[in-house]
Structures are given as C-alpha cells and as structure tokens.
C-alpha cells in the first residue's frame, strides 16, 4: 500500500515555481483558508494524457472541489500538453485562474505522473513535479498531486493523501450492526475491519502511524484494542475491573488515555504501551471521560460533569491542574485537540440542537460551526482546516459530514452509508 519510494522528484521545474517573485502575480490566485466565504478559486484540470490520465485528473478535481476552496472549471474539451507551455488565453477565457495539467506514462512497469500547476493570468508556472508508483496506486498519486496543489495555493499542508476510520452502521435502529470500517478520505476503497458481532465504538488514529485504538462492547464487558491497519495485528490493552472506553493515543503513540468506570464512577487513566503500566489521572466522583492529548503531549482535554453538567476541562498530562474551559450555553462533550494545538473541537448541546464547535485551549474564541438534531464526534483533518463529524436527523441514521474551521463550508462526506465516530488519519509518509 505504502508508496515507499514515492520519490518526489523535483523535476527541476519546481525551481521555477519557487523563484516566482512578483508578489502581485502570486496574490492574484492565493487562496486564504481562513476565509471560507471567499469565492472558490476557479481551477481547470483537463484529463492528463496517457493511461489513467483522465481518472487521475478527475480525482484531483473532486478533491479540490470538495475542499470548498477551489471550483473546478470544465475544460470544455481543451487539452493542455504537459511538455509545452499552455495556451493561457484558452484557460483564462474559461475563467480558470489556475491550470493543472499532466501526463501519466508507464516506465518499466511503473506509473510515472508528471504534472504542472500554472497561474493562467500571470502566465507562470507555480509547480512542476513528478510522482512514480505502481500503476494500481494511481489514486494515491492523484491525492499526492492534490496535496501539492493545495499546499502551493493555500500555503497550508493538504489532507487528501489520508484515510478515515469510522463506525459503519447498518440495520434498523433497534437492530443495528456496527462495524469498524476504513476508507480513503474521498470515500474510495471502503472496507470493513470487524465483522459486526460486537459493538465497536470510538476508533482513533495514532498521529504518527497507521494504527488505531477503539473500544469493543459486549454483554460480558468492554475492551480497548490496538489495531495495526497495515499488518492486521490486533491486541487488547488488557483486562480491567470495570468498563473501559473512550481511548485515544498520545501524540507520539507511546500511551493511550482512556476512561475507566468502577462502581459507576468514570475516571481518566493512561497506559504506557511499552511497559503496560496504567496510571489514574483523575479521581473525581463525577463522570470524567473522553480524554484527548494536546499535540505536544503536555496536556489533556477531557469531559467532566463535576460542575453539575458536562463541560470541557484541561489538565496537565500527569493529571494535575484541571480547570474548566467551556463556559458557553449548554453541555459540552467530546473534546479533541487540533493537530497544531491552536484549537479544541467539541460537541455542544444547546437550544435543543447539537453543534460542532471550536475554541482556543484556554476557552476563548469559541465558534459554533454546525447545528442539527444530532451533530457529534468531530475529528480533525491533519492540516487542522477541516473537521469530519457525524450528523443524524431525527429518526434517521447517522452520516458523515465535513465542515471547515470557518463553518462556511459544510458538506456531506463522500460516503453514502450509515456512519459515525469518524477518525481522520495523519498524512501518509
């Protein structure tokens, strides 16, 4: 699976892009990810030449379009040979401010994809890269190209070469089957990881590897598992007296924080995965659950009703110094720290609705991003610009949705089935 030799060959052309000096020319097509209300940037992505060329261009256009920051422009039958400079007026006439063109060729059984990104109005090349991989890995190549284009035009890392694990929900509300599932972030390559014989909840990605942790729940008890997606190796965190749930990795993947219930009282614990020693971090008689590490590993956000209703708290990673950070209207649950550490996303219940929101780790700058009958369980794209969450209409089944951090770009995720508890992977290496 891994494009280990995803040799990112800078075809010399990339220097041209890097040298693009004139600030004016760049400013014309800069995309500001902080302003989701901006008109999306029109970009045309005609079919690349060669086998799979049209498919690759299609995946790139879908990725960029779904981000809400770009508006794919129909090439109207025009082609753009990658080895010559494009006929810019053709593209500006279509309204495309940027152009992505490319060629896919098979070289010694390997797929080689050359592509360039152009500023059509300035008539300048912004990027020229070549990716090689196995032919069946063409979708990943397309995601790599999407990330390169996104990063060049927004100044932010992309998030297209990623996966999502989630809980697939099928059957009626009284007879649901829950299965762990994984898919590419664009909904391609979906597959089940568990067989549906047990309740599986809250899968969470390690920030540094293709490993997940999740909770399994059966009549005779609960367990937290670690599952390596690439090897299929699965192991339990061990036996606990009491219900164990809400697991989440530390940023370096060496620990798992979780909630452990004993005699009805849930507290936060953390297990060192190397020596398998567990340590209790909270001992409040209230409910403490949903721990989430800060990306530097120094702090843990969690959910507690110690103040009388469920609210968000932040404490040191050793369990000390807990203080409440949520003070808005309603009940706050399921905190999750952004990859850059600048925000905590959460679920808020207020006014008879559920909302996905974000706030600074000190509780300031709170923003409500979504509202519906049931919005729940946000997870961050690795670049911290987009959140995936589940949305359920009254009486319906949950679906996956995405919203950007401005709250203005809200869309159903590209997975049509019942699904909840999404967890976004880090970018592949």
């Amino acid at each position: 699976m891994r494009m280990s030799a995803a040799a990112l060959i800078f075809a010399g052309l990339v220097m041209t892009g890097a040298l693009l000096g004139p600030a004016q020319a760049r400013a014309e097509i800069e995309v500001d990810v902080n302003r989701g209300d901006l008109r999306p940037l029109p970009v045309s992505i005609p079919a690349f030449s060669g086998d799979r060329g049209a498919d690759i261009a299609g995946v790139i256009a879908d990725n960029l379009g779904r981000s809400g920051l770009f508006a794919p422009v129909d090439p109207a039958g025009n082609q753009a040979e990658v080895s010559t400079e494009p006929d810019f007026p053709v593209w500006t006439a279509l309204g495309a401010q940027a152009l992505v063109n490319g060629a896919a060729t098979l070289v010694d059984g390997r797929l080689q994809v050359d592509f360039r990104l152009w500023d059509t109005f300035a008539g300048q090349q912004l990027l020229g890269l070549q990716f090689t991989s196995t032919p069946e890995n063409w979708r990943r190549v397309a995601h790599k190209i999407s990330d390169a284009v996104y990063e060049r035009l927004t100044g932010e890392k992309g998030y297209f070469d990623t996966r999502v694990v989630f809980v697939s929900e099928t059957g009626g509300r009284l007879n649901r089957t829950l299965r762990l599932a994984v898919m590419d972030q664009d909904g391609a390559n979906p597959s089940y990881l568990t067989d549906g014989s047990e309740i599986v909840l809250s899968p969470r990605f390690s920030a540094s590897s293709q490993q997940i942790t999740y909770m399994s729940l059966r009549q005779d008890g609960s367990a937290v598992f670690l599952l390596n997606l690439e090897t299929g190796r699965r192991e339990s965190l061990g036996q606990f007296s009491g219900m164990v749930f809400a697991p989440r990795f530390s940023p370096d993947g060496s620990q798992v924080a979780f909630a452990l219930e004993r005699n009805g009282n849930s507290d936060i614990w953390v297990m060192n995965l190397v020596n398998r020693q567990s340590r209790r971090l909270t001992s409040d008689p209230a409910i403490d659950t949903s721990p989430a590490f800060s990306p530097d590993g120094s702090r843990i956000a969690f959910n507690s009703d110690r103040g009388g209703s469920p609210q968000l708290y932040v404490m040191d990673a050793n369990g000390g110094g807990a203080r409440r950070i949520s003070f808005g209207e309603g009940r706050y649950t399921s905190p999750v720290w952004s990859p850059a550490g600048d925000f905590i996303a959460f679920t808020r219940q207020g006014g008879g609705q559920f909302h996905i929101g974000i706030m600074r780790p000190d509780g300031s700058d709170e923003r409500t991003l979504t509202s519906s009958y049931m919005d729940e369980g946000p997870t961050w794209a690795p670049n911290g610009r987009v959140l995936l969450f589940s949305r359920q209409e009254a009486g319906g089944e949950p679906r996956l949705w995405t919203v950007d951090v401005t709250g203005r770009i809200l869309k159903p995720a590209p997975y049509a089935g019942g699904a909840s508890d999404p967890a976004w992977s880090p970018l592949f290496n």
């Binding site: 909840l201 219900m243 749930f245 009805g264 849930s266 469920p310 649950t333 399921s334 909840s420």
Partner: protein, 186 residues
C-alpha cells in the same frame, strides 16, 4: 435452557393472545353471501333445528416460576430514570423491591444490570451515564439484601435503544436500566 423456556413461553403467549383476540374482537362479517345450502335462521326464533358450535373455553398462560419470563413479567426487568439522572426514583424503587424479592426466591440466579441512555447525549458521555444508572440499580439491590457477587453491570450508552422513536416519549423509555438474567434461571 433459558432459550428453550423463552421459546416455549413465546409460543404459549402467542397462542394465548390469539385466543384473547378471538374473544374480544367483533365477529368477522362474511364478505360473500352464505352458501345457498346453509339453513337460514328463523326470524321468529325457531332455533331448535339450528346446529351451534361452541367456542372452546379460554386458555390462559402464565410463566413457569423461576424462569426469565417469570422475572420479566412478574417482577419487571426495567426501571427508568430522569434526564441526566441516575438516582433511583420512587416508582423504580417499587420495581426493584419486586426484583429483589424474586432474586431472593431464586438464589442461583445471576443478573447483569445494563445501563442505557437516550440519544440526546454524545456517545462517550452516555456510556459513562449508563454505567452510573446500572451501578445505582446494583447498589439499590445490594441494599435490599442481594449479594454483590450476584450482580454485574455494563453500560450500552445510547447504543441499544428500547424505543426507536425520536420524541420525548421514546427518550423517556430509553433512559433505563435493564436487569438481565445472566444465568441460573429455571
């Protein structure tokens, strides 16, 4: 064992309810005219030559003592909670008295208390809330003299609703703790 009992009882119950339905439902009106050969009833009441078929006497069903069905029907297996609460309400305490009495009568029975929450909460919080409810019921039963060793708990959070609805009535029903017989029933 338990499953066999459940099956038998299901059959019995189904039969009983069919009978009950026959007794109480209005007589079906024939959609077609009666067969021409059928003797017409005399309006003057000359019924001496009319054959009648007696309805069979009713059959009532009742669970065998000590079975899961006995517990569910005669003790009641669920108690309900207020929003966000896990305190045992007075109406629940009455049910738990019955459960405890039943459990005292059948000391081999082990139970599992399953805590449940309505869907107006997030998953991980509701798992914790369900645990509290299950544990509150466990503590209450212990207070009524049931050995702690006979009672385990689990929380299904909002994952196993009793009522699929999305209204207050459904939420009310879904905030519950179910006392499930884990083993030892007859």
């Amino acid at each position: 064992m338990t499953r066999n009992n459940a099956l038998r009882w299901t059959v019995l119950l189904a039969a009983a309810s069919v009978l009950a339905a026959c007794q109480s439902a209005p007589k079906p009106q024939p959609e077609t005219s009666p067969p021409p050969a059928a003797p017409a009833a005399d309006a003057a009441g000359a019924s001496s030559d009319v054959q009648t078929v007696r309805r069979p006497p009713p059959v009532s069903g009742t669970p065998l003592p000590g079975t899961v069905q006995d517990f569910v029907i005669n003790a009641s297996d669920r108690v309900f909670f207020d929003v966000d609460q896990y305190e045992v309400r007075p109406d629940a305490a009455v049910v738990l008295e019955r459960q405890a009495a039943w459990l005292r009568r059948y000391p081999a029975v082990q139970v599992r208390i399953e805590g449940n929450a309505d869907e107006r909460g997030t998953r991980e919080y509701n798992l914790a809330l369900g645990s509290r409810r299950a544990n509150a019921v466990r503590e209450h039963l212990i207070g009524l003299g049931i050995s702690p060793a006979r009672i385990s708990t689990i929380s299904f959070g909002k994952e196993r609703p009793l009522d699929p609805g999305a209204d207050e009535e459904a939420f009310k029903r879904n905030r519950n703790a179910r006392t499930a017989i884990a083993s030892g029933a007859r």
